[in-house]
């Protein structure tokens, strides 16, 4: 059908190549047997081996995982509660719209703005307690703030697709509030909650800007480590590390996609 317009196909493929050249290049150089330069010197796993012996990198990876797990757990809980509250409570129409907007806003706010706001907030809170010194706590709190909106949006779209009939049917069939929640609402929402959590986890793992502003010396994450190393000069080890982070992200996104499609009829 498109034989008469091969240009469309060519442009599409060119765009895809453009999109993936940097990633592929990084992956290729991560197995290139050359410390410097951009010429191909043969295949090697040695940068990966070196990577796994570098304790600073391993600690950064652990930090990243820890932050991602904790912030995702908290954000998923709060985000789901927020979605349920927005959807099921009979808000006055106008207030409901304002609250919707408030949920959407953080998604489109530039990260740098949110980061600056967090810095200000924490410096105020530091007057009250020294636990708000930049460190693991502030980093985790920072991640939670930008994750909540994403979780809420994903869970809400699932809630909207469920409709209210199901809840009413359960109440009509003698279900108490808790029975309804654990036997009907939660199982039906689970694909949405899992998808939201996956998304939040990925965002946390990848985040640089907010981490950069809110981390302390005890909480260097992988993106921050990569950034500071790159400033000293790109090493093949960083290529290897970047490739692994990329792969992890791709896998998470695919799993999230599968989960959210699961049982959607």
């Amino acid at each position: 059908m498109n034989k008469k317009r091969p240009i469309v196909a060519v442009v599409a493929i060119a765009s895809l190549i453009f999109l993936y050249i940097p990633s592929v290049a990084v992956a290729v150089f991560s197995v290139n047997n050359a410390k410097y330069g951009l010429t191909w010197k043969g295949f090697t796993w040695k940068w990966y081996e070196m990577l796994f012996q570098n304790e600073i990198i391993l600690e950064a990876a652990l930090n990243s995982l820890f932050v991602a797990l904790v912030s995702t757990a908290v954000a998923t809980l709060l985000g789901t509660a927020l979605a349920l509250g927005l959807d099921r409570f009979p808000w006055p129409r106008r207030l409901g719209k304002v609250m919707d907007l408030l949920v959407h806003l953080p998604v489109v706010t530039p990260d740098i703005i949110l980061a600056a706001a967090l810095v200000v907030t924490f410096s105020v809170l530091r007057n009250i307690s020294s636990s708000f010194d930049m460190g693991m706590l502030t980093l985790v709190l920072g991640h939670i703030t930008f994750q909540i909106s994403f979780v809420t949006l994903v869970v809400r779209s699932r809630l909207a697709s469920l409709g209210r009939d199901i809840d009413e049917a359960a109440r009509d069939l003698y279900a108490s509030g808790t029975y309804l929640f654990f036997r009907v609402t939660l199982p039906l929402l689970m694909p949405g909650i899992l998808a939201g959590a996956m998304l939040a986890f990925t965002l946390s793992l990848d985040d640089f800007i907010i981490s950069f502003f809110t981390h302390g010396p005890d909480s260097v994450t992988l993106p921050i480590y990569i950034y500071s190393s790159v400033r000293r000069g790109i090493s093949p080890e960083i290529h290897a590390l970047s490739t692994l982070v990329m792969l992890a992200t791709v896998i998470l996104v695919i799993v999230a996609e599968r989960v959210s499609r699961f049982r959607k009829e």
């Binding site: 009413e168 049917a169 009509d172 279900a175």
Partner: protein
Amino acid sequence: MTGQIELGLLVAQVQKSFGSHKALKGVDLEVRKGEFFTLLGPSGCGKTTLLRIIAGLELPDSGHVFLGGKDITRLPAAKRQVNTVFQSYALFPHLNIFENVAFGLKARQVSLPEVRKRVAEKLEMLGLDGLEKRYPHQLSGGQKQRVALARALVNEPDILLLDEPMSALDAHLRAQVQEDLRRLQRTIGQTFILVTHDQDEAMVVSDRLAVMKDGLVEQVGAPRDVYSKPRNKFVAEFLGAANIIQARRDGGRVVTDFGSFDLSSAPQWDEGTLAIRPEHIQLSDAPNGDPNWVQAKVREAIYRGQSLDLWLDPGPVRVRTHAKGRLAPGDQVSLFFPPEDLVALDKAE
């Protein structure tokens, strides 16, 4: 028969508004125990709101609902012996058919052997045995509807509410399901309240029906009575084809453009309207001199397969007669308007 009416459902002066829209403007209704009752009306007449109030899914602004003599107005849905078949069926998509039907029993902690027995009974009664392990999305529309019925009936409710349960079925299946539903209700003898906008459906299934309009009940009665003795123009026209004829009273008779007629019950007005069903007007080419015989000319003849519709001059009056008759425009016909089928309508408020 004890001669005493058992206490069924009583709706007293129920009002409900949504914002500035008055959905119910003071509805009174009595549904007897064991009858198949239908709330019939066009969309927006308040019938679904009334059903939801009876189910406990909506609170009335004022008025009361009594069930078996007890005031249940403020009792939440989960505590009423009333179950609903929803328009969308609202089956639980994550539970199989057994778990769907067992839901109400399990929510009330009925023992598992008892649950199994009662669910199996209802599934068999509705011809669903063998589908226990299936999920709702694997069923046909008719099967889903029966699962919704089983899920409600397994709780042995005092009243079963049905919210337009046929609307998702295709037309030829619908007629079959209507008859099945009527038979089912007669067999188990439970009180059913159906909401529908389809007058044929209401006729087929109901013992009694209430015609609703704009948040008020216009008329309550057996389908036969409401159909042949509509109280006003709205009821007459909503329940099928009706001739609405302008008339005035002249002594003991009423006079129309057609001629003058005897009525079996005299109108309350001096000038008003009469209604008569097209199929109640009798056709003959030999007038016998009775007072209710008139002459008219055929303006248009419409063959409908099962009947022949004649539009008459003077008109507009429609006569529905045997399809075998061969009448053409211009033919002269003699018509008999039976006095008991000519109904004087109430004046519109």
